[in-house]
């Protein structure tokens, strides 16, 4: 799962049938707390809001998260992050 920030919404009138009714959100990956890379689009199953830090799954797992294997989705928001606890000391030691 990658850590992303929710940035907004996307609308598409012409779309594949299985996408009708899905909430599609614009997200961007966070690395060390900073947004990196480009925006991409994920389905949302946890009522995430704009500005939330979220967990996003990709690939075939994104379909599992929606409980519908025939769906045309390859990224899904599966959690809203309450807190990230990173132990800088232990994780530096090698």
């Amino acid at each position: 799962m990658i850590i992303c920030k929710v940035k907004g919404h996307v609308w598409a009138t012409k779309k594949e049938d299985t996408l009708v009714g899905l909430k599609l959100m614009v997200v961007q990956e966070l690395k060390d707390g900073r947004a990196v890379g480009g925006d991409f689009v994920a389905a949302d199953v946890v009522s995430a809001g704009v500005g939330d830090r979220v967990l996003v799954v990709n690939g075939s797992t994104a379909r599992r998260a929606l409980g519908r294997d025939e769906i045309a989705i390859d990224s899904t928001i599966v959690g809203v992050i309450d807190s990230l606890e990173v132990d800088r000391e232990k994780s530096q030691n090698k």
Copy 2:
């Protein structure tokens, strides 16, 4: 789903049998509105046109979007974007 721009068409006479009759389009990923990376090729199920901003799924999901799991496709255009609404303020705060 990644956000891409449709750039053109590709023709291939010699091709795998399951590709016959599919509309194959040249697309390029957009990051923050600018085309980045190289061109790649996606099947189209939403009658996208050259110049459209579209949603593209990759991997096994691309086959699901075509409703045929045996098909030799790993990228499919599944939506034409009407609008992207990004809340810069909320998505910057954190």
Copy 3:
């Protein structure tokens, strides 16, 4: 599907059983017509030749293209490109 150039062949005497009899070719991705990244190896089902521009699928789709889901292949050449038509004007407008 990514756009690649066929560069040569690879031989391996010691190999997984499902690979016996497959034609394995060395390919390299093209971005804007120039070869980029490193060489990789793909199975060929369309009798591609060295120097051809080809369409390559990756992941589970590469097995579908061979019609054998148990096969140890994750990249397959599925088409020989006749022509690529990119509309630079329309695809620049946004």
Copy 4:
């Protein structure tokens, strides 16, 4: 499998149902012993601790490692590394 360092934990109250009860850890890939790229989140099935070097599988294999194909996980920690033995001499020769 990629080689990662375990850096911490992540908590999410709002999450997809299949994630309830899973231990989710923050990990970062190691290249030549140094942490590179951003943090991501993996489920843990081997009781890894913060600071451990671990083996992480991604994609559909992450679900197999949990023995539940319907689960919304695409990265799983599947081993705690005791030692890595790299033969620099042989692996340089070509």
Copy 5:
């Protein structure tokens, strides 16, 4: 399939059950003959040795190569390369 060099071995006492008894090797991708990127870990089904140039499959194909779909492996060595023949002239022409 990507072209890799075998660099060594990895040991993990604490590991997911399906990994018990597998030979896990440290490999690194080769691009134009030079090792690039970081080390990663692949299962071996062709008795590869340290220093060998090998073919590695990733993702769900890595499980197929082991003939066990439930296994927690996403990279497998499926061939030892005898020779790579690249036609530099033809593959430069476009």
